[in-house]
Symmetry: C2
Subunit: 360 residues, 2 copies
């Protein structure tokens, strides 16, 4: 196992901003992009934080990310819009699109923005949670590099295509669910690979369609399984949910979809004869008071959370978890105690420091 160093949030944030400035981002965009990554690290989603910083830089070097994009709303109604992100960092186009959705919700009750020509947007929770500040429900989804086989298939046709939704609460922390529509996200496989442990016999299949417990199966042509894992256990539902994310993010937006979604890693080539532009996202903002008075909602949301937290459990020491609860606790902790980075990530950041003449 690798050793870890612990970094104070502010120090890591400043460094990350400087890296984005170094690849040509404006000050505003660099701050925005860094904020998304640091938020992931604070919330304990280590796979989507600064661990990915060098990946974004490599995509910029491969000219697949435009650090000075001219993002344009290319289609619009009072409550909807489609944004061409001009190959922006998804870390920049996502918050931009979400702000447009929130603005549209002010008039129509809800606002929805599809994004094409974009790149990996970090954690969905960042974008969805923006809506909470205005007492709106936030929704964020994105398609992603194909790794998941639909039910009955052995071909990688879908990304881990996450859905995230954030619901405001009054006294409790907000309800924030952020879930890959695969049985397990790729990050969990990477952790198993690092530790050399077998994985549950429900996450991946071999290239011939045999369920496998080998975490490196993807490297041998295998694929991730949709949520539900097997036909018997409802994998057609995970496939249908992942497909829905792909349709919203790709087919409706004008981005690529299915097996044509451009890979995150810069060393894999983009497919020929693409049906759309870049990868795609879909965002929604729903005003609570477009459906009922805010106070009524808050009263009931508190009651919902209290009742679920109090529900009887198998193990009396393990209460029912409200989605977002562990990430919220982690964020409070890491804001004070700092963000631990595994050695490989620290080396990665040192590499970036060397490349751009920065100090970590």
């Amino acid at each position: 196992m690798s050793s870890t160093g612990v970094f104070e949030e502010g120090r890591l944030r400043q460094f990350t901003e400087q890296v984005f400035l170094a690849i040509g981002c404006s000050e505003t965009d660099a701050k925005q992009a860094a904020d998304v990554l640091i938020r992931a690290d604070l919330r304990g989603i280590d796979s989507h934080g600064v661990a990915r910083l060098s990946g974004y830089v490599r995509l910029w070097e491969a000219k697949r990310i435009n650090s000075q994009p001219n993002m344009q709303l290319v289609h619009e109604t009072p409550g909807t819009g489609t944004l061409d992100a001009d190959e922006a960092l998804g870390l920049v186009s996502g918050p931009h699109a979400m702000r447009i959705a929130m603005e549209k919700a002010k008039n129509c009750g809800t606002g929805w923005v599809a994004v094409n020509n974009s790149n990996h947007f970090g954690i969905g929770a960042y974008h969805a949670m923006m809506a909470l500040e205005e007492n709106m429900i936030g929704i964020a989804m994105t398609n992603a590099s194909p790794l998941v086989a639909p039910t009955h298939s052995i071909e990688r046709m879908l990304g881990t295509n996450p859905i995230c939704y954030a619901w405001p609460a009054r006294n409790h922390e907000p309800f924030v669910a952020d879930l890959a529509t695969a049985a397990a996200a790729n990050g969990k496989l990477e952790i198993a690979q690092r530790t050399g442990k077998a994985i549950p016999n429900s996450w991946v299949q071999s290239k011939d369609g045999q369920i496998s417990t080998d975490p490196s199966e993807l490297k041998s042509g295998g694929s991730l399984l949709p949520l539900g894992s097997t036909v018997e256990n409802g994998s057609h539902k995970g496939y249908a949910l992942s497909a829905m994310v792909d349709l919203f993010s790709g087919v409706l937006s004008g981005a690529n979809y299915g097996p044509w979604v451009p890979p995150f890693v810069s060393f894999l080539p983009v497919q020929p004869d693409l049906p759309g532009k870049g990868l795609g996202h879909f965002f929604g903002a729903i005003r609570v008071d477009a459906f009922r008075p805010l106070d009524d909602y808050f009263d009931n949301m508190e009651r919902w959370i209290n009742r679920f937290k109090a529900s009887e459990t198998i193990d009396p020491n393990q209460h029912v978890i409200i989605p977002g609860e562990p990430e919220y606790a982690m964020e409070q902790d890491r804001k004070i105690s700092g963000i631990p980075l595994v050695e490989a990530v620290e080396k990665d950041l040192e590499g970036l420091a060397g490349k751009f003449g920065l100090s970590l």
Copy 2:
């Protein structure tokens, strides 16, 4: 095994309409309610068709369904609304709410209607598919009688809370996913009970939280498991999805939610100290051309479907299924060959015929 009789669609439809007229529905409402049930039978969702007709009648007898409702939009913005269904059949309030959502989408690009004070709405697909006729994407969800335990819990806190979404296509049949957020819907358990077969060890748990293969486990205090089934396989995702449906359908609408959702069966009492009115639904209509020109969308939707249908499979005789494909094929078949009813359902309908002086 029970024998089956086969009924011509028109005959079953006429009978069902007459039953709804007999409990006091208007001619329009009776036709509407019957259409939802017959559509379920045509599509092969036998658990949600005329098999439930006597259940609705019993709820009316228990004064929990109002056959002459005064449904009112009690909260509204240009793109949203909340409907108090006045204890209507969900078979009536659902299509009514969906029509309002579609009307609102004409101006705002999308329209969304939450419904409270309602009852069981039949199959979600019926409501979502209404949007297809106007080249809109349709979304329908509902909460339901509590049967599902959240991850770590042994208490029935959530219904099988389905999500349905329908996407229009040009030449192919539409993409229609209609999925319970539990590992398996209750209907599958009922079939296993009738045939006396063990169920997969991923659908239910005993009252102590042990996974069980006994299809009658629910009768002994057990509960259904969320999609994903176990912590290892992602049951927290199924729980989070089910919770989302509950929040939209109950907490946002002003209906009941969680363990307070009124049971479908009339012999189970409604809980005391209810937080809301009846059960709730949530509907959305999304204009495709609010995001991109319709022809561009259709071109890409066709390409999506063709590519997924052609994806490589484990068994060359089993292609990847597009959600809604089996139900569409069933509907074409049953429109011609008729609707088969198991003996118990036929007897049930004969009972209704006797009660209301009708002939089946």
